[in-house]
Amino acid sequence: MNLLVLMIALPLLTAFLLSSINRISTLAARWIGPLVLLATAVIGLSVWPQLGAAPLALQWGGFQAPLGITLYADQFALLFALAMTIGTLLLWPRSAENQLRSSSLALLLAGTGSGLALSGDLFNIYVFYELMTVVSYGLIAGRGTSGSFASTLRYLVISGFGAALALAGIALVYQATGTLNLAQLAQLAPEKLNNLQGFAAFVLMLIGFGVKAELFPVNMWVPEVYATASSRVSALLAGVVSKLALLIIMRLLILVFHQPEALTVLLVLGILGVASGELAAWRARDLNRMLAFSSIGQLGVMFIALSIPGNAGIFAALAVMVHHLFLKPSMFLLAERWGGSIEKLAGAARTSPIAAALFVLLALSLIGVPPLPGFWAKLLVIMPMLALDQPLYYLAVFVMLAAASLEANYLFRVVMKLYDKQPAATSHKVHATADLATALFLGGGLIAAVFMLVPLADRLDSIAAQATDVSTYIQTVAPQQLQSGRVQ
C-alpha cells in the first residue's frame, strides 16, 4: 500500500528536482520524467489486482482517520490515477524550447492528478485540485503565444471563481458536520447534510469542480483554451483531467450528497451541456474548436449518466468516461497537424491515409455506431434512463439522440473533406510519428475493446460496484466507529 504514495510523491519530487538534474546532465533530465512516470505506472499496475478484493486506505503521517489525511484507493480511484499517469506519459509534452519547464509541469500534473484521484479527504481534494489547475495554467500558457496567455487568463478567471465557490461549499460542509474526511462525512451525511444546506454545498462544489469537468455554465473557457493550447495539452485536459474532476463529483455523489435534487441539477446541466456543445460544434469551422465543443457535449453526456440514481448511473458514467479517455486524446493528437480551417483539410487523406482512417474510426465510435464501444457506452446511459420513466429523463434521451445525429453530421463533414479531391497547389502536413503512433495506440484500444466487450463490461461493473459500496469505504478508512471530530 505504501507504494501507492509513491504514485503521488515520485512525480512531484522529480518535478522539483528536474532543474537540478538538468545542471548535472541534460540527457538525464530529458529522460527521467518519462522513466519516473513509467515506474509510477508499474507501481499502480502492480497494486491493481489486490485492490479487486478489497480497497485500501492509508493514513498519511500516521494520524488516525478523522484527523490525519487519508488516502483511499479502490480500483475506481486507481483507474483514474493510472489514466493520469499513463496519459501524461503518452502525451508527454514535446516542445523544443521549454522542454525542462513543460516536463516539470507534466510531472506535477501527473502527481497532483494521482493525488486527486486517491484522496479521501475533502480539503486534500481541494488542494490537489487547485494545484492541478495551476499546473494546467502553466501548460496552456507554456506555448508562449499571446493567444495562449490571454486564454489562460480568461480560464483563470473562471477557474478562480469556481475554486472560491468550491471552498465556500467545503466551508458549508464543515460547518454542518465538523469533518472533511470523506468516510466520516459518509457516516454523517444522512442526518446532517440531507437538507438545504447540504444541497447548497453540493451546488457550490459542483460549480467549483465542474469548471474542469466542462460543466455547462462554467465551461466558457473550453473553446478558447483548446484552440490556443498545444494539442497534447488539449488532449490531456479534455481527455484525462476533465475525468478527474468528474471523479470527484462522483465520489461526492456516492458518499456525501444523496439529495434527489442534486441529481436533477446534474441532469439539467448535463442536458444543457450536450445541447449547447453539440450545437456549437455543428457550426465550428476549425477542427480544434469543433473538438472542444464536442468534448463539452460528451462531458454533458457523462453528467447525464451521473444523474441516474444508483449503481447503473455510476456504471454508465464510468463506461462513457473510459471510452472518452481513449477517444478524445487520440482525436486531439490528430488535430495537431490538422488544426485550423476544416476547408483546408481537403484531400488530406491522400497525404496521410492512416491518420484519416483512424479519424473515421474515432468518429464512428464517438457517435456510437455498433459494434464500436461508443455505442455500448451510450446504450448503458440510455437504457436505465428510459426505465426510470420520468419526463426529464425522456428529454435527456431525446437530446442525446438528437445530439448524436448532429455529431454524425459535423464529424462526417470533416471526413468528407479529408477524402475530398485535393485542390492544386496545397500541401498537407504529415503527422509526427510519435503523435500518430500514440493516436493509433489509443484507437487500437477501442478496437480491442470491441472484442473484449463482455469481460470489459464485467470489469467496469465490478469497479462501479466497488465505488458505490459506501459501507466498505467507511470500514476501510476507519475500522472503529468514528466519533464526530468537532471539538467543542
Binding site: 465556500a168 438545504l196 444541497f199 447548497a200 437504457m383 466487450l453 463490461a457
Partner: protein, 623 residues
C-alpha cells in the same frame, strides 16, 4: 456449422476477396463466383422459402449486457436474402467486364467498389439474420454505413449526396434506437418473442410513440414521405452497377425491418385499434396514406427528371410506396402483393439501371435530352429496357403486373376506393415517365455523335438478359414467387394467399399462364400478319418526312426537352419543391441555434458567471 453460418462466412470471405483482389483482372469474376456460392449456400436453406423449415439458427452468438445476441434466418429473411444476393451477383457480374476496366481507367478503385458492394451484401445478410431487437439495430447501422460507403465512392458531387443520406440515415437510426430502447424499457428484453407477447398489453400512448419512432427510423431508409429527399440523388450518383444494386434492394431493408417489428411483432391489428383523435382514421390508415403519397409525389417528380438515372431512382422511391401499401393493408392479397413487388421491382429496377449504365458506357451521357434513336445501335439493351418498363409500369405480361394487381385487388377487397385511386394515379405517372425514358433514349432520331455506337459488351448484356428472363418468367408463372411470399406470410402470421403456379386461386382470381398465353398468341398472330400480309419497305432511320418536308439528321424532330408540358403546367405547382422547405427549415433552425450557442460561448461569459452567482445567492438565502 449451420447453413446460415456457411452463408455468412462465404459473404465475409467475399468482402475480403473483393478488397484483396478487386483490382486484378479476374478479381471481379472471382467475386461474382463467390456471390454465386452465397446463392448456393442460401439454397441450402431453401426449405425456408417453402415452409418446410421454419428457422435456421446461426451457431454464433454473444452475450452483451446480459442480453443474448442471436442471429437466425426465417422465411422473411430468406426471401430478402435471395433478392439481395441476386442483386449482388448480377451487379458484380455487370461490373466485372468492360465497365470495370473503364472505371479503373478513369481513376476509380475497383477494389473499393467491389469491396463496398460485397460489404453491402454482407451487412444486409447480417441485418436479415437478426434474431432480436439489438442485433436488428446493429445490422441496421452496419447497412447504413455500408451504403454510405458505396454512395460516397464517386467523390465530388456524390459526397454531398452521401452526406445528406447519412445525416438522414443517422437521425433515423437514432429515432429507431430510441424506439427500440423504449421497447426494452417497456418489455424488459430485446427478445422478439417478449415484444410479441407484450404488445397487446401496451398503452396506446406508448404504442403511438413507438410507431412514430420506429416508422420514422425505418421510413428514412425506405425514403417514405417526408424523408424521401435523400434517396434519388444519392443512388443516381453511385457508380453504375452500385446504383443498380442499391436501387434494387438497399432501401428494402427498411421494409424488412418494418415488417419484422411493426407487422410481425406489434401487429397490424394493434395499429387498427389506434384511433387518431378527431378523425375517422387510425394508425393503419395513416400509414396507408403515407404510402400512397409516397407513390404519387416521387413518381411525378420522376416525370420531371431529365437524367435517366435520377428518373429511375425517383421511381424507386415511388415504388416503395406500393410495397408499403400492400404490407400495411396486411390481408392475404395485399401482403403477398407487397412482398412480391419487392422481388419484382428488384428484378426490373436492376435491369433498367444496367441498361442506363450501358448507355452511359457507350455514349457517355445519361441526359435524356442528349440521347435518342439508339434502338438501331443497341437493340438488346432496348429489348431489356422495354421488358423493364413494362414491368415497372405494371402491365402484363411482366411480373410487375401481378404484384400491382394483387395490391389493387387488396385495396378493393379492403374497401378503400380512395387509396385505390391514389395508387392508380401513381401508376399513370409511372407509365408516362417510363415512356419518356424509353422514347428519349431509344426511339426517335439517332444523334450524329452516336452513329458509331455499338451494342453494349457481353458482360453487360448477359446480366440484363438474365434479369429480363426472370422478369418475364416470374410474370408468366407468378406462382414461383408466390410460393415464397406465402411462406413469408405464414411465418409473420398473416393469412396465407391461396395460389397456384399461374396466379391466385380465388373468385375472380388471376391466371397469368392463361393471360400471357393469349397475349403471346395475339402477338404471334400479329407478327404473322406483319410478315406475311402487307408489303413493307425498309427505310433508313433518318429517311423521314414531317409536314411534307424532308428531314435530315441536322433537323431535330426528336423532341425530348420539356416533356409533357401541359401536364407539367397543370400539376407543377402541386409538388414543386415539395418538402424541401421542410429540410431547409430544419437546417436553418439548427444553424440558428448553433450560431446562438457559439455566440453564447464566445460572448456571454460574464452573464453566465452572473447565473452562477444567482445560484450562489439562492444557496445563501436557503442557508
Amino acid at each position: 456449422m449451420t447453413a446460415l453460418d456457411t452463408l455468412l462466412l462465404i459473404s465475409a470471405i467475399t468482402v475480403g476477396v473483393a478488397l484483396l483482389a478487386g483490382n486484378w483482372r479476374v478479381g471481379g469474376w472471382l467475386v461474382t463466383i463467390l456471390y454465386a456460392l452465397q446463392g448456393a449456400a442460401l439454397l441450402m436453406m431453401s426449405g425456408l422459402g417453402y415452409s418446410t423449415l421454419t428457422v435456421v439458427q446461426s451457431s454464433f452468438s454473444i452475450e452483451v449486457l446480459s442480453e443474448q445476441l442471436l442471429w437466425r434466418f426465417d422465411a422473411l429473411s430468406w426471401f430478402f436474402a435471395l433478392i439481395t444476393i441476386g442483386a449482388g451477383l448480377f451487379s458484380s457480374w455487370f461490373a466485372s467486364g468492360e465497365w470495370g476496366e473503364r472505371y479503373r481507367d478513369n481513376g476509380g478503385s475497383l477494389r473499393l467498389f467491389h469491396g463496398a458492394l460485397a460489404l453491402n451484401v454482407f451487412t444486409m445478410l447480417v441485418l436479415l439474420a437478426s434474431g432480436d431487437l439489438l442485433t436488428l439495430f446493429i445490422g441496421w447501422e452496419l447497412v447504413s454505413w455500408a451504403s454510405f460507403l458505396i454512395m460516397a465512392l464517386a467523390g465530388g458531387k456524390a459526397f454531398g449526396y452521401a452526406m445528406r443520406y447519412i445525416s438522414y440515415a443517422f437521425a433515423g437510426a437514432m429515432a429507431l434506437l430510441g424506439g427500440l430502447l423504449l421497447i426494452y424499457a417497456e418489455v424488459g428484453s430485446f427478445d422478439f418473442q417478449s415484444l410479441k407477447e407484450a404488445a397487446p398489453q401496451m398503452q396506446a400512448s406508448t404504442l403511438w410513440l413507438l410507431v412514430v419512432l420506429l416508422t420514422s427510423g425505418f421510413g428514412v431508409k425506405m425514403a417514405i414521405l417526408p424523408f424521401h429527399l435523400w434517396q434519388a440523388k444519392a443512388y443516381a450518383q453511385t457508380p453504375g452497377p452500385g446504383a443498380a444494386f442499391l436501387g434494387a434492394i438497399s432501401s428494402r431493408m427498411g421494409l424488412f425491418a418494418f415488417i419484422v417489428v411493426v407487422v410481425q411483432l406489434i401487429g397490424i391489428s394493434r395499429l387498427v385499434e389506434m384511433e387518431i383523435p378527431f378523425t375517422f382514421l387510425d394508425a393503419q390508415d395513416l400509414l396507408a396514406w403515407i404510402a400512397v403519397f409516397t407513390i404519387i409525389i416521387p413518381t411525378y417528380i420522376a416525370l420531371r427528371q431529365h437524367d435517366a438515372r435520377r428518373l429511375l431512382a425517383w421511381h424507386g422511391v415511388g415504388q416503395t410506396g406500393y410495397m408499403l401499401l400492400g404490407i400495411v393493408i396486411a390481408n392475404d392479397l395485399g401482403s403477398a402483393g407487397g412482398l412480391m413487388h419487392v422481388f419484382n421491382y428488384a428484378s426490373y429496377q436492376a435491369m433498367l439501371f444496367m441498361v442506363v449504365v450501358a448507355v452511359i458506357h457507350r455514349t457517355g451521357t445519361s441526359d435524356l435530352n442528349k440521347l435518342g434513336g439508339l434502338f438501331t445501335r443497341m437493340p438488346l439493351s432496348y429489348l431489356a429496357m422495354l421488358i423493364g418498363i413494362i414491368g415497372l409500369a405494371g402491365l402484363p405480361p411482366m411480373n410487375g403486373f401481378v404484384s400491382k394487381w394483387l395490391i389493387y385487388r387488396s385495396l378493393i377487397v379492403d374497401g378503400s376506393p380512395l387509396l385505390f385511386l391514389g395508387a392508380v394515379i401513381g401508376t399513370l405517372g409511372t407509365i408516362l415517365s417510363v415512356y419518356k425514358l424509353i422514347h428519349n433514349i431509344f426511339l426517335g432520331q439517332l444523334r450524329v455523335e452516336h452513329v458509331a455506337v455499338r451494342e453494349a459488351p457481353l458482360s453487360m448484356v448477359i446480366p440484363m438478359m438474365a434479369l429480363a428472363v426472370i422478369v418475364f418468367v416470374t410474370g408468366y408463372f407468378p406462382g414461383l414467387v408466390l410460393d415464397w411470399t406465402s411462406a413469408v406470410q405464414a411465418s409473420i402470421g398473416i393469412p396465407v394467399l391461396a395460389h397456384h403456379l399461374g396466379g391466385v386461386s380465388m373468385k375472380g382470381g388471376l391466371d397469368m399462364i392463361w393471360i400471357v398465353s393469349v397475349l403471346l398468341i395475339g402477338f404471334g398472330f400479329g407478327t404473322l400478319v406483319f410478315f406475311l400480309g402487307g408489303r413493307s419497305r425498309r427505310v433508313h432511320q433518318l429517311d423521314n418526312y414531317a409536314g411534307g418536308h424532308f428531314l435530315t439528321a441536322e433537323t431535330r424532330y426528336h423532341y425530348s426537352d420539356n416533356f409533357y408540358p401541359g401536364l407539367m403546367h397543370l400539376i407543377g405547382p402541386w409538388y414543386r419543391n415539395s418538402f424541401e422547405w421542410l429540410e431547409r427549415g430544419v437546417i436553418s433552425a439548427v444553424d440558428t441555434l448553433s450560431t446562438a450557442m457559439q455566440g453564447l460561448y464566445r460572448n456571454a461569459h460574464p452573464s453566465y458567471l452572473l447565473l452562477a452567482a444567482v445560484v450562489f445567492a439562492l444557496s445563501w438565502v436557503i442557508v
